[in-house]
């Protein structure tokens, strides 16, 4: 069982967390084209290696930014969104 770092609660079991979305995909401004809107909704990079992702700690309801290696599963950092 891996432990993920909740910025509010500290390290907790991975089963308490839910992957939300890849970080770094800002919502398009104004009236985006269908293609831009679809890209925003669906397209991801799914990088092999370090990835920045939004996670939810289901137990306490905190969303936070976690950096981890998708190949080795090593946790590289967690940031409170404030």
């Amino acid at each position: 069982m891996q432990r993920f770092p909740c910025p509010f609660c500290g390290p907790r079991a991975e089963t308490e967390f839910h992957f939300a979305v890849e970080a770094g995909h800002p919502r398009p401004d104004g009236a985006p084209s269908d293609a831009d809107w679809a890209a925003y909704l669906y397209d991801v990079d799914a990088p092999k290696g370090p990835a920045r992702e939004m996670w939810l700690h289901v137990t306490c309801g905190t969303y936070f930014l976690m950096t981890r290696d998708t190949q080795t599963r090593e946790i590289l950092g967690a940031e409170d969104l404030g």
Binding site: H18, D34, A38, V44
Partner: protein
Amino acid sequence: MKYSAVTLAREALRGHRHWPEAWAKARPKAAYDAVIVGGGGHGLATAYYLAKTHGLSRVAVLEKGWIGGGNTGRNTTVIRSNYFYPESVALYDLALRLYEGLSRELNYNVMLSQRGMLIAAHTPAQMEICNRIANAMQLNGVDGRLMDAEEAAARVPLANQAADARYRLMGGIWQGRAGVARHDAVAWGYARAASRMGVDIIEGCDVQDIVVEAGRVTGVETNLGPIRTNRLGLAAAGATPGLAAKVGVRLPIHTYALQAFVSEPVKPILDTVLLYLGTGTYLSQSDKGELVIGGGLDRVPTHGQKGNLPAQEQVLSGVLEMFPSFGQLKLLRQWGGVVDVVPDSSPILGPAGPEGVFLNCGWGTGGFKAIPAGGTLLAHMLATGDHHAISRPFDLDRFRTGRLIDEAAGSGIAH
């Protein structure tokens, strides 16, 4: 060499020392009419149908590892077409029909065993869902029907039906043509048949870059040197996003590990494929007697080809809820493969980015059952430059138009 009773007897008398290689170990040539990245079932089937159906034999399949070493050789071997939407049934039933004739066609025994599949329900709500899917299957012209509790219990006599059982059978959906096949044989059979028609199957060939000139693909750079082609098929499962990124294409694909488990072999105790809606665990017994066990995806996106413990615990506790007596069995092995999961749980088939590049990906947890169809459709697109009627709904543009084929909602599958 054609396999037959005569060649088997002759080689047996010669001590089995003179069987030729099943497929030639090819080195890359400078140029091909079409190149397929990914030597799994879909890639090999694509090469085979390009040669057989479309007469294109200057074709190369580039495999980073070795044939049969990826997800094709590492799955739970189930074949079925019990889906909800007509588009999906057209796709998966094409695969099933081709599987039904595959051993004869390839002259290679893929050991297809149509032992039937039961999707088991244990609550009235699940029976309603089963009713809906069985209806959809019949409307789509596929063999499928509702099964009552008595018949379901007779199908899986060891299932826990005790008065205090948590998941007592209430019935389910039955597809009689579903079953299992020998997964390695599917890869080896396609590889052998394609190789005999002149296709180069190149193992240990890692695609490092894709060359695009004036909006059209012109070749690939590999660890074995450059290869020129203006038709490129990408059929590399979890590695597809990384390949597509080389031509600036982002895909709606998350990668997850999917685990499976095999028990020690025992005498025949389960003669069907069983999926329990309540536990999400499914299993069948292999011809060797092992129980082959699968379940849902891991919850953490990853490219690491191993599973995590929470998913393992969930799958195996499901087995023990369904079959308490299996608690005596030892697990022989566990493995995890990386699968490409799409938001609407349907594959992506169609052109991507530069002209001449076509995708066959996004099969998620269900690629094995679709191999003959995936190969047929990618071959059609590479040969003609255009969609097949069955692949058209699975184009990447469905995310822009909103015409999603949401099988997670339709048939309740995980991938």
